[in-house]
Symmetry: C2
Subunit: 339 residues, 2 copies
DNA sequence: CTGAAAGCGCTTACAG
DNA sequence: CTGAAAGCGCTTACAG
């Protein structure tokens, strides 16, 4: 392995000088710098990341803490998208991305913080009452949660505005005259576990419906399957007054078209349908529903921006930022028939 | 930050002794060890990962090189599964997992290798003629490709046996009397880019059909969409003699049930259907087709096992391991009508 | 503008 | 069984 010493010797300067030209800092004469660069080139030198990290007490890496792989028995279709989005954003800031998986997020955070493996962490799969918030505070490691717990205790939060998404979907249906709707949610286990996005969206939806005097029937797609094909027909049978449907469950959204096809339900002629889901999934799957589309890359990117800012300034006051996501109109809503 | 020095002082021993009890190596008297452990406990000591890495020249991290996020314009449904599988397996071996993304995989490999950021790498999204193979050889970094290029040049390879999968699917159809089949593949861009699994499966499929005198029509799901709903009906119209279908395209498999529903095609009464896809996706989506199910966790785990082995023994001779995947029979194949 | 030197927090022969 | 010491490859005041 070629080190700074080798380069220094080759260029006839000191290690310090090499270090300065590598970091671009300090004012080294162009002449010396050229010599050093030539030597580096010749020897194929590359700075040793670990040594630099030890010396500067900066790893230039961020960690992604993700504990629950199957958010309650469901194959997470968007997990990859968030990871890639975070990694890409980190790279733009000159950071590497470390996957901090493990059953126990609290343990993962503690150990990452104590062993100084990363400069900061992004926490995924946030729960409404998330034990990891405490671990974050305690360890003092710079962190931002991609997801909003009930009490963020002064930890930064970035997420999509699921509350607003629910309201705008309900409004859209209400404005089209719908007065009885059906909500297709995640598997019950997801709510029991209290995954923030599920709980927040549902609560906001119920609230928005209550305020407007809308009737809501709720059904949960067990197994998070395209069990849509079983659940949806049954739900409609049980709640015949419903003229519209709100789906918050990626797998169910994907499966819904088949379910409608099978049961002979025409959208929007027989039923108006709206959803909230990752943009990419909607496009990739050519989902034909009006949707609040989550721009996963934008959310991930914003999260990393915030984390980098936090790493730079530990004293900065904490923020909770919920990003509004745009509505994509695809023609799956139409006016309810007057009764 | 509490260091070994602090612990040593607290316990009244030397740094070396602390180091030995931390690593469990050497024979420190139980009495001394207890004192040291008490001091560590009291002070909340945790070994500094970076310092250890510099000292041992081992980072205890592996990198995952993944260049193409959208394997040719398609939202990759299984990307997350592979990442999580790899991270979990790495963790079992005591390794962290670093995401090495970037447009240029060659550059990512070089830089990771030169800067000693990781002890080894897993390469994803392997192409048939993959430029990264050269970079791997050159850099000498321990590596295993999760995917099989045409020439692995002495680099280890682990992947699902897509060749065998194609053969067994064809055999299954052939044995049921099918003589004309339709192949629904990935978007053309995937084949143009020569992603290994796509090319390998298709080649093996064509070969297996040719050997048995089967007719094959091939259609590619543009946009990798659930464009299945457009592509499949058209394909069947264009090739009316087909009595069976093979799908290799995750999005198309997910969309296929709807397409059949819409066009009134009953499976298997009117058409036999077989696929190959990740197990988890098949289960999560309740795909009703006979499938070769890829056990992503098993493949990821085996890949990491191999990498750890390779890190331990750089001289070990390279292997190409293609893991056979099981066939899940779900009742989507039946005997072709005799003509 | 450049170099000598200390220091980052560990590990690991080597003495004792 | 335990400790003194050198070394891992950088960075960074501090002199000059």
């Amino acid at each position: 392995m070629v080190t700074m010493r080798d380069v220094a010797r080759e260029a006839g300067v000191s290690k310090a000088t090499v270090s300065y030209v590598v970091s671009g800092s300090s004012l080294i004469s162009e002449k010396t710098a050229a010599k050093v660069r030539a030597a580096m080139e010749k020897l194929g030198y590359s700075v040793n990341h670990t040594a630099r990290a030890l010396s500067t007490a900066k790893t230039n890496a961020i960690g992604v803490v993700t504990s629950f792989r199957n958010n309650g028995a469901c194959f997470d279709l968007s997990a990859g998208a968030y990871l890639y989005g975070i990694a890409a954003a980190a790279r733009r800031h000159g950071y590497d991305t470390m996957l901090l998986t493990g059953d126990d997020g609290v343990e993962a955070i503690r150990s990452a913080a104590l062993s100084r493996r990363v400069d900061g962490v992004v926490v995924l799969d946030v729960l409404i009452g998330d034990a990891r918030v405490g671990a974050l505070k305690e360890s003092g490691i710079p962190a931002v949660m991609l997801g909003s717990p009930a009490d963020s205790q002064g930890v930064d939060v970035v997420d999509s505005n699921f509350e607003a998404a629910a309201v705008s979907l309900v409004e859209r249906l209400y404005d089209h005259g719908h007065r009885s709707i059906l909500f297709i949610g995640w598997p019950e286990a997801v709510y029991e576990r209290k995954l923030n996005y599920a709980v927040r969206f549902r609560a906001s939806l119920m609230e928005a419906c209550a305020m407007r005097g809308l009737r809501v029937g709720a059904v949960y797609a067990h197994d998070a399957t395209l069990g849509a094909s079983e659940v949806i027909p049954r739900a409609l049978r049980d709640c015949p007054s419903a003229t519209a449907m709100v789906i918050h469950n990626d797998a169910a959204v994907v499966g819904a078209p088949q379910a409608f096809e099978r049961t002979g339900i025409r959208v929007p002629a027989d039923l108006s349908v709206v959803t909230v889901m990752p943009d990419q999934l909607g496009e990739g799957m050519q989902i034909p529903f009006d949707s609040v589309g989550i721009d996963v890359d934008a959310v991930a990117s914003h999260t990393v921006d915030r984390l980098v800012e936090r790493i730079g300034d530990p004293e900065m006051s904490a923020r909770v930022e919920l990003l509004d996501q745009p509505m994509h109109v695809r023609g799956s809503v139409r006016a309810a028939h007057e009764d």
